[in-house]
């Protein structure tokens, strides 16, 4: 009896703690006024920057990440080392990612470029931080495609390229979409690497998360409005992800919990 009460209490405290900030964002300011803040110039500027950089970054992630993941889904010597290298940015603190990008591409960097503190820098920071989530998931999705089906396709007259597009890609699709959803969410919320590598210049490099940070001591309501917007977008992504997981047998269960 006491044990069950303690269990219930602990669960209640944890759930309350996790839900409270979300509730607070929407409770502090009435929804109507919150929505009105979204037409504020700072917000629209940040929205445009976020939208543009996210789309370009995710296009890059898909275009380069998909072939990379397919290559890494085949067994070869040194594969696990490369996979670990791809996964490293997932566990890397974002600030380290930012300083690393500066050291690599800064004015005094390994490769001299004028990229830092431009919109290109935002794209690179977002791609760096979010692509591993997609690639890792895509490797698992490609690995799950029965190699007999690939062999069958070849014997039926299809070369490697047609086999990839007609057999491998359709069968891995569920896992790829789930991986991309995770990468998209991670990229949209990117903060640490972006602020270090691209700065927070309104209309140029100030994304939605950076706008929350820059506005919270200027106009708390605006910061809240942007926060609310990000909560809604993120929740929509999560729900999409769970729906995908429940309608497909692709192997992205281990990235989300088993409830997904």
């Amino acid at each position: 009896m006491i044990r069950r009460a303690l269990l219930g209490l602990a669960t209640l405290v944890a759930l309350g703690f996790l839900a409270l900030p979300i509730v607070a964002i929407f409770a502090r300011v009435p929804p109507g006024r919150l929505a009105a803040q979204l037409s504020n110039g700072v917000v629209t500027d940040a929205l445009v920057v976020s939208l543009k950089t996210t789309l370009i970054a995710q296009a890059l992630v898909l275009l380069l990440g998909t072939p990379t993941a397919y290559a890494l889904s085949h067994r070869f010597r040194g594969r696990s080392l490369l996979v670990t290298l791809v996964e490293l940015p997932i566990v890397l603190p974002p600030a380290v990612a930012g300083i690393g990008l500066l050291a690599a591409l800064g004015r005094t960097g390994l490769i001299h470029t004028t990229v830092p503190f431009t919109q290109t820098a935002v794209v690179l920071a977002v791609a760096f931080v979010s692509s591993p989530l997609y690639v890792r998931q895509a490797i698992a999705a490609f690995e799950a495609v029965d190699e007999n089906l690939v062999a069958a396709s070849r014997t039926l007259g299809s070369g490697p390229v047609r086999t990839f597009f007609r057999v491998v890609l359709p069968l891995a699709r569920g896992g790829l979409v789930a991986g991309e959803a995770l990468a998209f969410a991670r990229g949209l919320g990117e903060f640490g690497a972006t602020i270090m590598f691209a700065g927070s210049l309104r209309g140029v490099t100030q994304t939605l998360p950076l706008a929350v940070y820059s506005e919270f001591d200027v106009n708390f309501d605006v910061a809240l409005a942007v926060g609310g917007l990000l909560v809604l977008v993120s929740a929509a992504l999560l729900i999409t992800l769970k729906w995908l997981a429940s309608t497909s047998t692709s192997p992205f269960r281990f990235a989300l919990s088993s409830s997904a």
Binding site: D146, N148, A151, A152, T155, L156, V167, L171
Partner: protein
């Protein structure tokens, strides 16, 4: 008729696969699992390296998609995301293949909704839509239940006759091989032990393994030359064979050459092995009886008349001419 030649020398996990083979009609490779049978098919298809020549045309360096083989995989490897029609169309024009294989009414179904027999028909139709020069069948009957198997075996045998393509099939079941192929090769540890017509394999097995694989009894013993060869079996029984041999041998006796009696038949012309009845199993219209180390086949009527039951004593008898002596 076209002819497929292959010359394989391929290191596998436990041994090296080495064989040369010419396929003109239907050849079946039989052998225990892990003998390298499926690897031979993959060599022909271009999925593993090896010298392959079709009708004088060198295929060795051609990628799989340019080899014109109809490969039916053991698990059929149907594309799960495509309908039956789309699976067949993937390989080439569908034509009347759906009607020919009685899958027209399943055209819009997904492979996941089909029975084993239906899947096999789709896989065959798809392989033929490729307009192949060679057919490759990997364990074509293994995925089917015993009930469907007999019917499908008949259909398959008819189909192979109709298409008239050089066909290489692999199976672990000697009966399937004998029913489907004009030539059967016994493959063990990557080597071809014997390649011959099914009847020839039974009549003159080259070694003990081939004999036991074709369903024969194999009794071990020591032979001594004489007018008839005398073999003292490991169990102590003394038998005679018309085959010539000396030293350690395997005595090959087919179950249908063995009669069963409950009393010792006092006929010196017959070999007699006395033993306990180990099992009595009815298979179709025959009864398989195990007496000591010997398996015999009798009619259900004789089994009933002899009151054969586990644990009883019986005598297995067979003629000297019904034995083959093979090296061990």
């Amino acid at each position: 008729m076209a002819r497929l030649d292959l010359d394989v020398s391929l290191p596998l996990r436990a041994f090296e696969l080495r064989l040369t083979l010419a396929v003109e009609r239907t050849v079946a490779l039989v052998g225990p699992s892990g003998a390298g049978k499926s690897s031979v098919l993959k060599v022909v298809a271009g999925l593993l390296p090896g010298r392959v020549e079709f009708d004088g045309e060198d295929w060795t360096r051609l990628p799989p998609e340019r080899r014109r083989v109809g490969f039916v995989f053991q698990d059929y490897a149907l594309f799960p995301h495509l309908s039956v029609r789309a699976n067949v169309a993937y390989a080439g024009p569908v034509g009347d293949l759906l009607e020919r294989f009685r899958i027209a009414e399943l055209a819009d179904a997904r492979p996941g909704d089909l029975s084993g027999g239906e899947r096999q028909r789709v896989a065959l139709a798809r392989a033929l839509a490729r307009r192949p020069d060679v057919l490759l069948l990997d364990e074509p009957l293994a995925a089917l239940d015993a009930h469907t198997k007999a019917r499908v075996r008949g259909e398959l045998s008819e189909l192979l006759r109709d298409v008239g393509l050089p066909t290489l099939l692999v199976t672990h079941d000697y009966e399937d091989a004998a029913a489907l192929a004009g030539e059967v090769g016994v493959l063990v540890d990557g080597r071809l032990r014997q390649l011959a017509a099914p009847a020839e394999l039974v009549a003159r097995p080259r070694d003990a393994f081939v004999a036991s694989f074709t369903g024969a009894n194999l009794l071990r013993g020591r032979a001594r030359r004489g007018e008839l060869t005398e073999v003292v079996l490991d169990g102590g029984d003394r038998i005679y064979s018309t085959d010539d041999a000396d030293g350690e041998v395997g005595v090959v006796v087919y179950p249908w050459e063995v009669s069963v009696a409950r009393a010792h038949a006092d006929d010196s012309a017959l070999n007699v092995v006395r033993g306990e009845i180990g099992s009595v199993v009815e298979i179709g219209n025959r009864v398989r009886v195990r007496i000591g180390a010997v398996t015999a086949e009798v009619t259900p009527a004789s089994a009933a008349r002899l009151e054969l039951a586990r644990g009883g004593l019986a005598y297995a008898t067979f003629k000297a001419t019904g034995t083959r002596l093979v090296p061990l």
